[in-house]
Symmetry: D2
Subunit: 255 residues, 4 copies
Amino acid sequence: MSIKVIVAGFKGKMGSTAVNMIQGDSDLELAALLDPFATEAEVDGVPVFTDKAALSGFDADVWVDFTMPAVAYENTRFALENGFAPVVGTTGFSESQIAELIDLSAQKKLGGLIAPNFAIGAILLMEFAAKASKYFPDLEIIELHHDKKKDAPSGTAVKTAELIREVRQAKKQGAEDEVETLAGARGAEFDGFRIHSVRLPGLVAHQEVIFGAQGEGLTLRHDSYDRVSFMSGVNLGIKEVVKRDQLVYGLEKLL
Amino acid sequence: MSIKVIVAGFKGKMGSTAVNMIQGDSDLELAALLDPFATEAEVDGVPVFTDKAALSGFDADVWVDFTMPAVAYENTRFALENGFAPVVGTTGFSESQIAELIDLSAQKKLGGLIAPNFAIGAILLMEFAAKASKYFPDLEIIELHHDKKKDAPSGTAVKTAELIREVRQAKKQGAEDEVETLAGARGAEFDGFRIHSVRLPGLVAHQEVIFGAQGEGLTLRHDSYDRVSFMSGVNLGIKEVVKRDQLVYGLEKLL
Amino acid sequence: MSIKVIVAGFKGKMGSTAVNMIQGDSDLELAALLDPFATEAEVDGVPVFTDKAALSGFDADVWVDFTMPAVAYENTRFALENGFAPVVGTTGFSESQIAELIDLSAQKKLGGLIAPNFAIGAILLMEFAAKASKYFPDLEIIELHHDKKKDAPSGTAVKTAELIREVRQAKKQGAEDEVETLAGARGAEFDGFRIHSVRLPGLVAHQEVIFGAQGEGLTLRHDSYDRVSFMSGVNLGIKEVVKRDQLVYGLEKLL
Amino acid sequence: MSIKVIVAGFKGKMGSTAVNMIQGDSDLELAALLDPFATEAEVDGVPVFTDKAALSGFDADVWVDFTMPAVAYENTRFALENGFAPVVGTTGFSESQIAELIDLSAQKKLGGLIAPNFAIGAILLMEFAAKASKYFPDLEIIELHHDKKKDAPSGTAVKTAELIREVRQAKKQGAEDEVETLAGARGAEFDGFRIHSVRLPGLVAHQEVIFGAQGEGLTLRHDSYDRVSFMSGVNLGIKEVVKRDQLVYGLEKLL
């Protein structure tokens, strides 16, 4: 019995990548497609809709949503009310909206997932880094991205650092009388440890967390080359939400 | 209130390293030393014994044991019977002996630890690798050691591979029509994945587990340079066993 | 004064990538395009030809050739006879053909380049690895590719190994009494050192050469993600051949 | 015929490590030892001197010097005047002193070496990095050291950066509108590229130079664990100076 999936926002980059992923997995069945910008009536025999209202009562199990922040909350509410377990990659939810949607999912006894990040590898890296920091409080983060990236450090590095801060025993690292003969050499300071941002052509998105202790070292590295990598997280989300009876926020809750 | 520790086997390499570690931690107090080969009466004011019987009724909390396989079982039993929570790095226990000691510890309501490996970093690596293999079933292990090492792959690599096999969905990796033009290039096969052993002067003991998936990669690496690295595991063991009321086998049970 | 370039084989993957590269470099000017399969009369104002004879007497400096082995020799001879310095990525030349073309180029006082590999990074890696092996005879090669690759080790790894063999003092590495408890763990043997081939989804083409000596290590790594990387080698070739008066075989001769 | 070597400063750390290295190489013969702090008359049958004057006319080929800056110039001059080819690791020479000693060596037709750094691996890394920067002008340096190190970046990183600056086409790297949301994230700026300094317990002395270009990357890494690694440079120096007729400054001149 395959899982029947609706994809909302299927004309966008993430949405169309999700369609390909679903078509390539025999455990999943593409049931319907939704996009206000669609002009075709069907794709490979799958019906296309431009207004979500038409999907009320439709036979499907999961609602995958890669739409726009402006409509994501209404879409997710619609999915839950119509019995579709939502798997949402669209951003822009407020905390109170998330709390409301979790309540609604519990009433409806439907699983669901809202995730700002579907990269399983990146999420595992953060989880492992946080756990290791309990035993190895001396660490540094090196994140490496292409040289068109404007901000440093990366959002992922800051998120990783925050997760580490929650569990690591606070500690100011480095020699007490440390001196930078070239300003910035020691990187950005965050809760007593350091973050370094490398920017080079040819790179995509990479992150290393290096731990050091007397006589040993531990290095965790994630390399992200292509948005296709997010699809293993979407796939996992679809297969997990149908087994659950409440929506969760963050893919890490399903790992 | 510091934890009072007896060190059995304090004349050996691991035992003497443990003594140094305990003396350097203000939360721990070296209470007594035991070694049949000792000739001194005391070390830095700490009494030295050559026969464990003399320690019956002694005031201490933890019994650290780095002795010989021939006496480890008797020592651990003695520790439990005398109210000392054992932290044992000596090897050579049978499965039935471990089961017996766990029973005895439960009767005495004493924590304890028997650990074949005290390297926290190596244990975390194995745990992380096993968890990642659930989501990334394509992986290879590269272990790197000094060039005097006789056996390949390393015991740690085989142990890591076994832990992965327990949780990874079985899969034969690589191209179906793969051909080695030089025999051995693809490494050793284990449950469908590959293990590679590098041997070079200058290296000590290192292990990488590399995971690959569409559009991303995850690499976990542990570097071990010195036996001093085991001491953070011994330290953790001492501080954990005094909070518990049953002996466990394997440091991973305390992480 | 920009360098005027003809691209032969411009309808192929490498040829069309070369066209893009030339159009993006203000020091170069696309002068003419040649391909027997072309149907258009011009591309962006650049004249298109289907027969090389029509280019006799044409005003250009360099002939870039990404055609087929069957015509590469004739094309290169034609280029030299007509005063175009050839930069040839097509394969299939015999040693005597190369010798002949070098002679002809010397008579014509024209530079030229025939290169089986235009990846500057890969060529630098080989050159550095060979030089390092003179001082660090203990080394291992790890090459990593996507899991659709059939042959192991890679052609680049074998080429690297051959260049090392030419200069490294012969030595059988590893412990004398080394034992593989899992066959293949120590990799493929080549001239006393080892080559390991990793195959994983998500990887493209990567190579590491690791050197070890008492108290130190040296690691050289090249990562190749995309054929666009070959273009820096083609660009370098174009700019170097116009300064020279004899054809060379191998991009390394121009570095 | 083995090379007869005098070691000046044999009571110091480097000097005594050099003595061990010479005794372990059958191509070398320890001829005499010099140290003003020595009290023994001989070591393993090798005569010990406390005043260099006593070595005038002594039968030896090479003078290895690991003494103090205050005496290094006089020692090297003495060696040359007495027919010993000097291999000097002591620092503190002025440029004019070096020029003088090179002149003197040429008159005496003696080889010689004054080297601030005997780590062949570190020197090869610098040489390779400089060469690669000609073709890959986008690069960053990451140096990693133990957390007792006071200064950042390391002297080796600055030296490497200077060598790169000499040959690399000047270029300001990174996005034009790059913003640090945490100050220092992008590291120290040097001639348009960046240097990052990592400090962690367990590390010794490590350096990576990472190059990026469209579709590819090149990474060069040196790991230094122990001062014993300098000895391969001293050994090479001894064997090379006896073949030469002029002193050089810098081990790279002999590679």
